[in-house]
Amino acid sequence: MQKDKYLSQLRQAIRALPENEQEEILADYDEHFRMGITDGRTEAEIASALGDPRSIGREYAAVSLVNRAEESPSARGIGRAVLATVGLGLFNLFVVFLPFLILVFMIVLILIIGFSIACAGPFLAGYAVLILIGVLPMQLDTPPLAAIFFGIGLTSSGLLMIALDYWLTRICYRQTIRYLRWNIEVISGKETL
């Protein structure tokens, strides 16, 4: 492969990165080619010794997206970082993508349950209040006051669950970043060596 083709494939693979990062990376490889040519090697030799520009580019993109997801946390950011890491190897479908989906599913599930429990409280308490003030006929087996207390308890538990879920999300976020970084360094990009 010639230098121009090599650099354009590399550029294509890192197009998701900020412009200045792209330029820096391309400058490194451009310099490498120039030094190699001074050294008496052909462009094709240098290119084949460098390794596949697409997989090198994908690794750069994954690292950069993980860094960005760490610096400014967002659901979109971590999603992109996960997808970029998955793109480094088929195996990552099973050790990155699937576990991540399950994690997200669990966090959302806990949020929905917490929210439902928190919402159920005022309904139950409101219903008991209506019985207590005589608007509705007595239909509960338990005393209305107990139902009110129980309603308050439900809402508090629901809110607690939401708070715990928030805390859990933060921990999972941090650990996911760490895991992606480790994955990129240790498991993926093996073929780029």
């Binding site: 310099e31 490498h32 030094m35 990009g189 780029t192 060596l193």
Partner: protein
């Protein structure tokens, strides 16, 4: 050589070479690939990570033969990491060699 072997030691090799003197990227690649085969393009992502982590810094320097080259220099922090990696490596190869010797003796 097994790619997983190399992945682990490449970082240490780079830090050790930069500890000796500042080098530019191409020079680093040559100094390593003369000793064992690497995919040359993998050095640059590694150097970038080392820079992001504050283990190396870069500067541009004019060269006699042409445009400026990007030099890499080991930081104090990088020196500490290098010493840790080298110490772990020494310990590791002594243990592995001990194991290999033990098995060879048992067989022979």
């Amino acid at each position: 050589m097994n790619a997983q072997f190399k992945k682990g030691v490449l970082e240490m090799c780079v830090l050790v070479l930069l500890g000796e003197k500042d080098r530019y990227g191409y020079e680093l690649v040559q100094d390593i690939s003369h000793r064992f085969e690497i995919s040359e393009g993998s050095i640059y992502p590694l150097l970038r990570r080392l820079r992001d982590e504050g283990n190396v810094v870069t500067y541009l320097q004019e060269s006699a033969e042409g445009p400026a080259r990007k030099y890499y220099s080991l930081t104090a922090k990088g020196g500490i990491i290098r010493d840790e990696l080298v110490a772990e490596w020494q310990e590791f190869i002594v243990a592995v060699n001990g194991l290999l010797d033990g098995v060879n003796h048992a067989e022979g």
